[in-house]
């Protein structure tokens, strides 16, 4: 018997696999499809489910995402594993022109309860064609919900919430978190809400909004800052679209300072959107310039020494905060 508050120690990737297992058990209309899905964590699902609901697809990203859309329109709740986020460009037509638009274009006749999982595959020496963090690409399109969990519990709870959501959801997982272990709720009905950011650490001097995998760095930065007498509030964005403006604005209203940590390229990043939103709606509470801590506007190199230098670190966040004095 499991109790409501029981937890089990799982890595971020294991938590994702469990979420899929539980949702596939709960609802027989949930299926999982993608390329070589066993390689991306799903191998144990093959012990429980068969080829009807687990589909290894050919290498046809635009079409198998679209197959997911078509299946979602007609009674299934597909989870499509787009494995590596740099492949999402191939599928962006089906995501943007179909998944995101069909409900609207049919005047609400149809819904698209589709989940697309994908992982940002950076800091991994795979070079520019594998290492993008392209969530900003889908943010501009209305109609898609975009999630970026930064903990194992959220990876599980948000994926489950996504499966139960009636709209198309794209989840960006961060492979740099895949092996991070954590106590994760066992109860299969614990969901993490879509559209709610979470204050992971309270503080009063500066707000650090962390996007996706930046969270560990943001939390460490807050510790360093605390030692230096600066009290940082760390907000885990969790949902990229729709943006939880309230949580961010409330925090900035207290701190007057905003840092956004985001591993996407700076221009047109989620950090940019948050900065713009606060500059528009929270301007009067803002006492210092907003600082975006992001990857610079160059591609990801193969060389690992250089690659690491592109991304958000504790020290970059600390330095950014220190410029705000």
């Amino acid at each position: 018997m499991t109790l409501a508050n029981d937890t089990v120690r799982l890595s971020y990737l294991q938590a994702i696999v469990e979420a899929q297992r539980e949702e596939m058990r709960r609802d027989e209309n949930v299926i999982l499809m993608g390329e070589d899905i066993a390689v991306y964590g799903a191998q144990s699902l093959f012990e429980e489910f068969d080829g009807t609901r687990l589909r290894n697809t050919p290498i046809s990203e635009n079409s198998f995402v679209g197959v997911g859309v078509g299946a979602a329109l007609t009674g299934l709740r597909p989870i499509v594993d787009l494995t590596i986020a740099s492949f999402c460009y191939l599928a962006s037509d089906q995501l943007i022109n179909q998944a995101a638009k069909l409900r609207f274009m049919t005047g609400g006749q149809l819904s698209v309860p589709l989940v697309v999982r994908t992982s940002t595959f950076y800091n991994n020496r795979t070079a520019a064609q594998h290492a993008d963090r392209p969530y900003p690409l889908f943010m501009n399109t209305p109609g898609l919900k975009i999630l970026a969990p930064a903990t194992a519990s959220d990876a599980k709870g948000m994926l489950k919430a996504a499966v139960r959501d009636d709209d198309p959801v794209v989840i960006f997982e961060d492979i740099n978190l895949w092996n991070k272990k954590e106590d994760v709720p066992v109860d299969p009905d614990v969901l993490a809400p879509i559209g709610k950011a979470l204050v992971r650490r309270e503080g009063s001097d500066v707000t650090i909004v962390s996007v996706a995998g930046c969270l560990p760095h943001a939390l460490k930065a807050a510790e360093v800052l605390a030692e230096r007498g600066i009290s940082a509030e760390v907000i885990d964005l969790r949902t990229i679209a729709p943006l939880d403006s309230e949580t961010i604005l409330n925090s900035v209203a207290r701190t007057g300072r905003l840092i956004v940590a985001d591993n996407s390229h700076k221009v047109g990043s989620v950090a940019s959107e948050i900065a713009a939103m606060v500059c528009e709606e929270g301007f009067d509470t803002l006492r210092r310039p907003v600082r975006r801590v992001t990857a610079p506007q160059v591609h990801v190199p193969y060389n690992g020494t250089l690659e690491k230098q592109l991304f958000v670190t504790r020290d970059k966040i600390v330095s950014a905060v220190e410029t705000l004095d």
Binding site: N29, I31, T52, R53, R55, T57, P58, S60, N62, S63, F64, V65, G66, V67, G68, V69, G70, A71, A72, L73, T74, G75, L76, P78, D93, Q94, N97, Q98, L102, R103, F104, M105, T106, G107, G108, Q109, L110, S111, P113, P142, G143, K145, D165, D166, D167, I194, G195, T239, A241, P242, L243, D244, S245, E246
Partner: protein, 327 residues
């Protein structure tokens, strides 16, 4: 699997509906890509389907719901951009999608329907129903990557999908002959190990027969079929587009209008079978239906600002959606 006497007349009715629907559009609302000339292909295909079978279509979207038996009023109102339209005036001429009749998408993105139809087939298979899914597309669409990608997936999984090409010889101004490595579209099927069949798209019973066979195959779990119906578009690509070049001859157009009009051809067949009076009755009835639809559309209100927001999401939207510009 041939059409019985009642269904012959129903086929004729649907063909006339498409024809008169679009003639009304030409008269009243000069918008859209017309299916005049394609009636036999569309109706022949749809008559082989059940009401609960799925259909995806294209930018040339008017014929498909009519062929599938949808109510005319909401279709007309949609093209007039009204709130009573089948898509509340949000979708419009290229997107006449009536979900009640199994239509799940009319994609104005050429080739966009291949994966969707394939997904509907997958859905039927996973849910264990014997529904099939029929994908309408043009000759031009076969050059979109999703064509091969989707057919291949349907082939490996033996999905109940019928890929049905309305080959009218042109994609806007581009002839099949200069845009396809070889012009027989049905011949592409072999590369994926599925049957490919070409059929006279101006002969509604011939079309029905090959589609019915493909549907039977699909329902029995034997997988997809590619069907190429050779048809012809009587009007310009779209009756809003100015085409600055002559890419097909007037002679060619005249020939098809005169000798290859699918409605006239089927009427002649039915008359030969002694059913002229029934045909006339159908024509009169459809004329009334269309007139009523135009009146309905005209009198209907336009959609409202709030409709934009209310049709975006199925699940309660987040705060961003509720705020700001919604007013």
């Amino acid at each position: 699997m041939s059409l019985d006497s009642d269904r012959q007349l129903e086929a004729f009715r649907r063909m006339v509906r498409i024809r008169l629907f679009e003639e009304a559009l030409i008269a009243h609302n000069p918008v859209g890509h017309l299916s005049i000339g394609h009636e036999a292909a569309i109706v022949g295909a749809c008559m082989a389907l059940r009401d609960d079978d799925y259909v995806t279509g294209t930018h040339r979207s008017h014929g498909h719901p009519i062929g599938k038996g949808a109510e005319i009023g909401p279709l007309m109102a949609e093209i007039f951009g009204r709130r009573t339209g089948i898509c509340k005036g949000l979708g419009g001429s290229m997107h006449l999608t009536d979900a009640r009749m199994g239509l799940i998408c009319e994609s104005a993105i050429v080739g966009g329907g291949f994966p969707l139809a394939t997904g509907a087939g997958l859905s039927a298979q996973v849910r264990g129903t014997d529904q099939v899914s029929l994908c309408f597309f043009g000759d031009g669409a076969t050059n979109q990557g999703t064509f091969g990608e989707s057919i291949n997936m349907a082939a490996i999984w033996k999905l109940p999908v019928i890929y049905f090409c309305e080959n009218n010889g042109y994609a806007v101004t581009t002839p099949v002959a200069t845009s396809h490595g070889q012009p027989d579209i049905a011949r592409r099927a072999d590369g994926f190990g599925i049957p490919g069949v070409a059929v006279d798209g101006q002969d509604v019973e011939a079309v029905h027969a090959v589609v019915a066979q493909a549907v039977a195959r699909a329902r029995q779990g034997e997988g997809p079929t590619l069907i190429e119906a050779r048809t012809y578009r009587f009007d310009e690509h779209s009756n809003r587009l100015a085409i600055p070049i002559e890419y097909r001859s007037q002679d060619e157009i005249e020939y098809h209008r005169r000798e290859r009009d699918p409605v006239a051809l089927y009427r002649a067949v039915l008359c030969e079978r002694g059913r002229q009076q029934e045909c006339e009755a159908v024509e009169n009835e459809v004329r009334e239906t269309i007139d009523a639809a135009v009146a309905f559309a005209r009198e209907s209100p336009e959609p409202e600002w709030a409709d934009l927001w209310d049709n975006m999401y199925a699940s309660p939207p987040g705060p961003e959606h509720a705020r700001g510009d919604r007013k």
